[in-house]
Amino acid sequence: MSLGPDARALLDAARGGDDPTDADAARLRAKLAVCLGAAAAAGATATFSAKTAAATKAVVETGARGAAAGATGSTAGLAGAKVVLALALAGAASSAVLATSHDRKPTANAPPTANANANATANANTNTNANANANPNPNPNAPATAPAPVRPPSRPGSTLADELSLLSSARAHLAAQDGRAALADVDAHASRFPRGVLAEERDALRVHALCRAGRAADARAAASAFVARRPGSPQASAVLRACATGDD
């Protein structure tokens, strides 16, 4: 049998209705960019060096193993994607990966790309259950925080790359134990992209940066605000523990 006219009419009426919105596409692209290395998803292919490709591959393969574990174990089947994101956001390796993909220099303290592969592999072997920084749901409603250092205005069409660049820089500062510099990047992101695609990552980073800067009380207040605003965030527990784990 084939479908009757009513069913056909319904299908025709609904056919385009499930496509992602522009916001969906931008959000996904940002997550993938973090996940795979910015060059892979953000369209910047020219600077994707062999070394960064190797580091990215390690991260991606970790995700595949995580996915397999999620499919067969007690964790959700999507653990793999979250693990990738956690590694990408948490690892100094990915900071190097992302940093190489943008024209803005991240920081003087960014780890050298040559170490990226080793770092990613180490993470892959030890952090398959990591979810501390996994973030499937960036919140576009995060309030702006001010004041922020002056940054050059973003170029048209480069918003996502700029967002990534700032947060990668903040990560690199954190890895280098420089909470104040990380905080400056976080503030800059909040100022320029108050409703940015990566606002949730930004707000989680702020808590860690405050801890690292020795501002434990502020960090705890920011952590409480984060959890209140995003009770379902997979980063919530890590944010609440940020200062308790020796970061301050």
Partner: protein, 201 residues
């Protein structure tokens, strides 16, 4: 496009140029990851949704699909269409996801992810056509086998032989399953109309 894909294309191009002209070789067309993402995000997104992934989990599922695509794109040999290949990846990941959701004993709407910001806003819901909501409701009434074949054949209009390949079933089985899926869809639609909820015309 990954660096290695770039590299492979470059190497193969050099090979062809160095080879005597009387032995030309058709190069496989390797789409770049960027191209695949740009062109096929909507296809993967709506397919995952129609296969049963809830709004709150769509981001994660679609992201996982493209992570796999990124890893495997170079192994795509063009024996099926790109869309069929993508659908196969999407289908496997959606099945894993739905299994995990069902193991947790929720339909997906109540899982923690639903608290996230990927929930449709009231504006989104107002804009979403009633036809789409009815379509989802009817698809939810189909069992997984019928749902999969119906989405592929009737919504994405993939050729039945390729559908059979994706599902690893023989062609007759695929046609039979599609026939049953259409029947089930019509019956579910009739039930919806009987409840007077179908007002798209």
């Amino acid at each position: 496009m990954s660096a290695s894909t770039h590299l492979r294309i470059a190497v193969e191009s050099m090979d062809v140029e160095a080879r005597p002209k009387e032995a030309p070789r058709a190069l496989p067309v390797i789409a770049s990851f960027d191209d695949v993402y740009r062109d096929e995000l909507a296809f993967v997104w709506r397919s995952a949704r129609r296969l049963g992934v809830r709004e709150a989990a769509l981001d994660d599922v679609v992201q996982e699909v493209f992570v796999v695509v990124h890893r495997r794109l170079e192994t795509f040999e063009g024996r099926s269409s790109l869309r069929t290949w993508l659908f196969g990846i999407t289908l496997r990941i959606v099945r894993d996801h739905l299994r995990a959701v069902r193991r947790r004993g929720t339909a997906g709407d109540d899982e923690p992810d639903a608290l996230g910001t990927t929930d449709p806003s009231p504006c989104d819901l107002a804009e979403r056509s009633e036809a789409v909501r009815i379509l989802h409701a009817i698809l939810d009434e189909l069992d997984d086998e019928k749902r999969e074949v119906f989405v592929m054949a009737e919504l994405e209009e993939l050729p039945v032989p390729e559908i059979a390949g994706v599902l690893a079933i023989n062609l007759n089985t695929a046609y039979a399953r599609l026939r049953l899926a259409r029947q089930a869809f019509e019956q579910a639609l009739a039930r919806h109309r009987a409840r007077d909820v179908w007002r798209i015309r």
